[in-house]
């Protein structure tokens, strides 16, 4: 019932949110979504963000993260969509959505999905600026975020 999509095509966040929320049983009380957008750098020189991934492993890693969250927070459903390829500032990179009986579970599960997706799903970002290309370094704070769970 959960859905995972790793794709290069853009997607319509609003349409995905509505589709995700439809047809749930009447015990659902809370839906949380997170959308990640390509943010420009502080000096505004980002031309695009190139997202590389490991086809095959990416889907497996995401599936495992989602299954763990569904189990732990008794989610009614969960959704992950993540793009790869060349994205410009302002474009949507990815989204997650969770739904549960209560708000705390839906929020925590969405944060868990994001924390694990950041550091445990095989995606790599390269920034292309007017000065050239550079791989984005993983942040210690993203690795540290996993300790919460």
């Amino acid at each position: 019932m959960t859905r995972i999509s790793v794709q290069s095509e853009p997607f319509d966040v609003g349409a995905e949110v509505n589709r995700f929320s439809e047809g749930k049983d009447d015990q659902v009380g809370a839906v949380v979504t997170f959308t990640g957008v390509v943010r420009n750098n502080d000096v505004g020189t980002l031309k695009s963000m190139l997202i590389e991934h490991y086809p095959g492993m990416t889907e497996k890693a995401l599936q495992k993260i989602v299954e763990t969250a569904v189990e732990r927070w008794s989610l009614s459903d969960a959704l992950v969509i993540h793009r790869h390829g060349d994205l410009r500032p302002g474009e949507v990179i990815m989204m997650v959505a969770t739904t549960a009986r209560h708000r705390v579970a839906a929020f925590e599960a969405a944060e868990y999905l994001m924390d694990y997706l950041k550091s445990r799903a095989p995606f790599w970002k390269q920034e292309i600026t007017s000065d050239g290309r550079s791989w984005v370094d993983a942040k210690d704070e993203d690795e540290d975020a996993l300790k919460r769970w």
């Binding site: 990640g36 590389e52 991934h53 490991y54 095959g56 492993m57 497996k60 890693a61 993540h82 990179i93 990815m94 994001m114 997706l117 950041k118 550091s119 445990r120 799903a121 095989p122 995606f123 790599w124 970002k125 390269q126 791989w135 984005v136 370094d137 993983a138 993203d142 690795e143």
Partner: protein, 81 residues
């Protein structure tokens, strides 16, 4: 066995995937074998703390056995989301 590389590891080694015949019993042994091959491998594997490894598409570590393994991947820490 296939060895695959991503992000700057792929760039330093200069290819995304290669087929390797090896007697290495662990990922570490494979790394040593690769480093001995050519400068570009030695460079890519110079700091293992900056690398992650997946064995048959599961995150793993450098101690992992290669027994029955068909694909090993090397890449930097992931930056998804």
């Amino acid at each position: 066995m296939y060895v695959v590389y991503f992000a700057w590891v792929r760039e330093r080694i200069g290819l995304p995937k290669e087929k390797i015949e090896t007697q290495a019993k662990t990922v570490s042994e494979l790394v040593e074998e690769l480093k001995a091959r050519e400068e570009r491998y030695a460079l890519a594997f110079s700091d293992l703390s900056a690398l992650r490894v997946a064995v048959d598409q599961e995150l793993s570590d450098f101690d992992a056995s290669l027994d029955g393994v068909s694909e090993v991947a090397f890449f930097p820490p992931m930056t998804g989301g």
